[in-house]
Amino acid sequence: MTTPEDYYKLFFESEGEAERPCVIRAVDIKKIYRTSGQEVQALRGATLDVYKGEYLSIMGPSGSGKSTLFNAIGALVKPSSGKVYIDQVDIAQLDTNELAWLRCRKIGYIFQSYNLIQVMTCLENVMLPMSFAGIEAEAAREKAIKILGMVGLSHRVLHKPSSLSGGQQQRVAIARALANSPEIILADEPTANLDQHTGQEMIDLLDDLKRKLGVTIISATHDLKMLQKSDRILWIEDGRIVRMAKPSELDFSSKDFH
């Protein structure tokens, strides 16, 4: 029988890339959804390493298992089989309490539709994950103001999200994702709801974070500009990873990207 450890050897030790520190490692993850008696295999065994400080893009048509893979490596969904290690820790071993800690401190989430808490001001939105982390209110406020300044929103600190433009809301969401200085940022189509110009700004901002703070960024995206900035691009189709490439190896004018 092939154990996950065997898979791990099979896929990585031979490639000589295991030297780089690995933040997330997924080994042969499968996910089966059961809905009204029907089984849907969303993932049919995906294995990948995400290295520290890299910018990984995940591409795939809808229904390809892209979201499931994204959720699984983001500790949002437990795979039916296979292992996901975040910082060398098997997340299947964690209870809900430890998972909450992980989501709070290790990972910052950015959503396609921003998902700001509408009843709170920008400042409170950014402070929320810090208060979940038990940071004292005054310190949290100071840090939140600093981060909001970093994403260029110092003048909108006390506004409610509904009074901001899409781009500004996404900036608040990025600030919130950065609140607890996570090592990993998971971004689910972060530019899908933005126009070309603001999308570009967002990409530059993420790229900046990667360079300056060394955070690992994983994003599901179809945005060409985002793909071009990535270190690696991963294709998923029908629940399997079919291709992994660097942007320099790709022809962005091909029909795959349109």
Binding site: L76, Q93, L94, E98, F111
Partner: protein, 352 residues
């Protein structure tokens, strides 16, 4: 490189203090004020109904004890005058060995009002007599009572120490009226014994008890139904609130909120609305019930009954409030559970 460690090096997420959940809830209620008002109104009606029934019970008791007293005094007067004739211009003897009952006080006042001339009183000095306006009160000894009187009122319950007064021997052809049930003297010739205290017959008692039981059962049934409706209303509103906030809850979980925190948030929200609805409902139910009684029984009697039952009214109001708090929290248990068990990945779904 070694195989990844499987032992967990992840600390547990801290549990947030109540105040943080409370703050988030307050913001939520403020921003969704309209919906909160609707939910609170639902609670308000349920609790107002409960409180109005409670108030009704208290007021009715107060009013009916007044009413019973009036009926009792009327009956005593008519029994007495049937034997002694109208009290106007007459002399009556009055023997008491202890404090007077309200009915006896009223009886004396009524006799006074009807023009009784003189009252020969045999009583310890500790017995307080009502102030009479036209009747002359004359304290006499037990032996002297009965001279020239048309009747003697006896308020004792026991045979007096030393046997029945010899005075009765003087009271030829007099009427001895007993205001209480208890010891009766052996009938001496020429004395008419009149029993003014008439306890209800057993049959009547059974009837009244059955009627009271029927009413309390009916009240209990109506209250149960109305509270059930309230609970279902709150539950429904909270479920709606949970569904509405699916993404928000998912996002909070992505940011590190514990399930317990999410559950607590919804329980606090519901309890808060229950508290506000309970306070308003108590006030509305009380005012409504008092108004109804004032309209149907007059201002003064209703007010009097209300003041008499103030203690029990306060207790009932507290009970309604506690009831409101408990029910609203219970009603939120299921919605809060739905919310807390939601998976964080819900936050990523873009089309909700």
């Amino acid at each position: 490189m070694t195989a990844p460690a499987t032992t967990s090096a992840i600390p547990r997420q801290i549990t947030l203090p109540m105040s943080v959940a409370f703050e988030v809830v307050m913001q939520g209620i403020r921003i969704r004020f309209g919906r909160s008002v609707v939910t609170v109104t639902g609670v308000l009606f349920g609790i107002a109904f409960l409180m109005s029934i409670f108030t009704g019970i208290v007021l009715k008791q107060g009013l009916s004890s007044e009413e019973q007293l009036r009926i009792e005094v009327n009956r005593m007067i008519s029994f007495l005058t049937a034997e002694t004739g109208q009290p106007k211009g007459h002399v009556l003897g009055f023997i008491a060995d202890g404090p007077l009952k309200p009915a006896e006080v009223k009886l004396l006042l009524a006799l006074d009002a009807q023009g009784l001339d003189k009252l020969q009183v045999v009583a310890p000095t500790t017995v307080v007599l009502p102030v009479l306006s036209s009747t002359q009160v004359q304290r006499v000894s037990l032996d002297a009572v009965g001279m020239g009187v048309s009747g003697i009122l006896w308020t004792g319950e026991k045979e007096p120490a030393g046997g029945w007064p010899s005075a009765f021997k003087n009271a030829r052809q007099a009427v001895l009226a007993l205001t209480r049930d208890g010891a009766k003297p052996e009938v001496v010739s020429d004395i008419h014994l009149v029993l003014l205290a008439s306890a209800l017959s057993d049959e009547q008692k059974i009837k009244e008890e059955a009627a009271a039981k029927r009413e309390s059962f009916r009240n209990g049934w109506i209250i149960t139904i109305s509270l059930l409706v309230t609970v279902i209303g709150i539950s429904n509103a909270m479920l709606m609130s949970v569904t509405e906030r699916f993404r928000e809850i998912g996002t909070m979980k992505c940011l590190g909120a514990l399930s317990a925190f999410v559950r607590r948030m919804f329980l606090i929200e519901s309890a808060l609305m229950g508290l506000v609805g309970g306070i308003l409902g108590c006030a509305v139910g009380f005012v409504f019930s008092v108004l109804v009684y004032m309209i149907s029984y007059g201002f003064a009697p209703a007010l009097h009954a209300m003041m008499a039952g103030l203690g029990s009214l306060v207790l009932f109001a507290l009970a309604s409030l506690v009831c409101s708090l408990i029910l609203s929290t219970l009603a939120a248990l299921y919605p809060a559970n739905v919310a807390s068990e939601m998976v964080p990945a819900t936050a990523l779904r873009s089309s909700i």
